[in-house]
């Protein structure tokens, strides 16, 4: 709250500064307008000043995007939104997600197999599927780390490494982030195409939802196809919706010189991109937890492409049966 009221005081001050620095010269006629804001329209100087403050452009001999605009009306607002709620709630969401996962791990622990492994392996992911997955995963992690550094680096690392250190780190980070962005987008699209047909709604999903995926009851095996509903939710909400949204807004931010973009558009894009990225990162923590610590044997499937038959039966029974019957299209 303190930050907010300080922010709006700063805003008021800034508008005043702007008004004064530029319009003081028109003081003789401004004075009336200033004492009486309800002055009837028609005073040319007052009108002119109002327009300047709203960002209506004039004419400038200096070339450049928006060089005729005297006041960037939304700048201070953007500053407050970015440095205020975006950073505050962004950090809170990410830390809360981490906290929930740690708590879940302590309370529930990893989900282990209830029957002993058979030693017989079946293929779960083809080499191409694994390539696409890891390509997306690695670019995603690099994008996430460099993006977090842009938003939080100054607050978190700044006191440790100073402005010069931040410059070195983020200089490299910006290059990685900007050049890897389109690669991440390409991988995301591939990933969506590769796994799309296994992520459509199935009848067993309703059961999965009703029993919360068996997450809170050990030994509760809910039959599901190749992917269960939790994985499908991650696929649609995370990878598809948020992934494409973040990568798309990022692509627009990537090449500021190619299209004439206004500051206002860039401001909004930065905010939207960051909000989407924070949500995507938070969701990804859940996915990463499930794949590494949360479910015994899950990581192996993406590492080697194969799973034990017991694992397949306990986690994806319908898929297991299909595969066994030779009906799976993924063998």
């Amino acid at each position: 709250m303190i930050a907010i009221s300080r922010g709006s005081a700063a805003l008021a001050w800034l508008i005043r500064l702007a008004a004064i620095a530029m319009a003081l010269s028109m003081l003789p006629s401004m004075a009336v307008a200033a004492t009486d804001p309800a002055k009837p329209p028609g005073d040319p100087v007052a009108n002119y000043w109002r327009e300047v403050r709203q960002g209506v452009p004039g004419l400038s001999q200096v070339d450049g995007a928006e060089s005729g605009v005297l006041i960037n009306a939304a700048g201070q607002q953007w500053r407050e939104q970015r440095n205020g709620p975006l950073k505050r709630y962004g950090a809170m969401i990410l830390l809360a997600m981490l906290g929930i996962i740690v708590l879940f791990y302590l309370v529930r622990g990893p989900m282990r197999l209830s029957a002993p492994p058979t030693g017989r392996k079946i293929q779960r992911f083809t080499p191409f599927e694994r390539f696409v997955h890891w390509g997306t995963a690695i670019t995603f992690i690099l994008m996430g780390l460099t993006g977090l550094a842009v938003l939080f680096g100054r607050s978190v690392l700044g006191p440790l490494i100073g402005s010069g250190g931040l410059g070195g780190l983020l200089g490299l980070g910006k290059l990685v982030h900007n050049y890897l962005g389109p690669v991440f987008l390409a991988f995301t699209i591939l990933l969506i195409l590769v796994f799309l047909r296994d992520n459509v709604w199935a009848k067993c999903d309703a059961q999965w939802i009703a029993r919360a995926g068996g997450m809170f009851s050990s030994g509760d095996h809910i039959p599901s196809g190749r992917f269960n509903f939790g994985e499908k939710a991650w696929f649609w909400l995370g990878v598809t919706f948020l992934g494409l949204f973040v990568a798309g807004t990022g692509l627009l931010l990537d090449f500021p010189a190619l299209i004439d973009r206004t500051r206002e558009l860039m401001q909004n894009l930065v905010l939207l991109h960051a909000i989407g990225a924070v949500l995507l990162l938070a969701m990804s923590l859940g996915h990463i937890y499930m794949a590494t610590l949360g479910v015994e044997g899950a990581m192996e499937s993406m590492k080697t492409g194969e799973v034990d038959e017991t694992w397949a039966k306990e986690h994806h029974e319908l898929w297991y049966e299909e595969t066994k019957a030779g009906r799976s299209s993924h063998m």
């Binding site: 003789p28 200033a34 960037n72 201070q76 953007w78 010189a257 500051r263």
Partner: protein, 200 residues
């Protein structure tokens, strides 16, 4: 201690763009960049007004607040300067600046932003005063030589004023009186705190 401010008198500015040119020449500013610009409102109409604008060296500078690498600093004279070495060219300062002051050279294969350049109030940068390194990155450091910004120094109509806030304010007050408007004198001390900082 001085508190440096610019002030542009729109009753006097004739849009000659000499300040723009003088600045560009004095600091040998990169190709495609102008640290100062003149904007004309209502061009060709009876109430046409021109204003010369550059970095206004804000007290609570938005550029400094949003810069992810924290490269801005305010000198004892209230001049907002930056360290180009650490700048990553993200453009955030431009998005936040109320006056569109930060400028960017185009850099690299995709026309990315290079290191940010803006008006230094003829005050250079973090390097040693008027060293070749400072000269190359930020232009001349006139303040270190005891001189004021060239744009205002050479303004033919003295529309653009630069210097200590109190002195700039005194000069302007005289003008308001000379223009013969009592209305104009109003608010100078009461309502407006034109030059930032301490008085209210």
């Amino acid at each position: 201690m001085a508190r440096m401010k610019f002030l542009c008198d729109a009753e006097r500015c004739i849009e000659c763009n000499a300040c723009v040119t003088a600045c560009k020449n004095e600091h040998e500013v990169q190709w495609g960049i102008n640290r100062r610009r003149v904007v004309t409102i209502n061009d060709g109409e009876p109430n046409e007004k021109s204003i010369s604008v550059a970095c206004m060296h804000c007290t609570d500078a938005p550029c400094a607040a949003v810069c992810p690498v924290d490269i801005f600093y305010t000198t004892e004279d209230g001049v907002v300067l930056h360290n180009k070495d650490a700048c990553i060219g993200c453009g955030y300062c431009l998005f936040a600046c109320p006056f569109g002051a930060p400028q960017f050279p185009q850099d690299g294969a995709f026309g990315e932003r290079g290191k940010m350049d803006k008006c230094t109030f003829c005050g250079g940068g973090p390097e040693e005063d008027n060293s070749p390194a400072e000269r190359a990155k930020y232009g001349r450091n006139r303040l270190a030589e005891g001189k004021l910004p060239l744009c205002a120094e050479m303004c033919s109509t003295k529309a653009l004023l630069a210097g200590d806030a109190n002195e700039v304010s005194d000069i302007f007050r005289e003008r308001v009186v000379a223009r013969g408007s009592n209305r104009g004198a109003w608010g100078q001390n009461l309502q407006f705190n034109p030059l930032g900082g301490t008085r209210r």
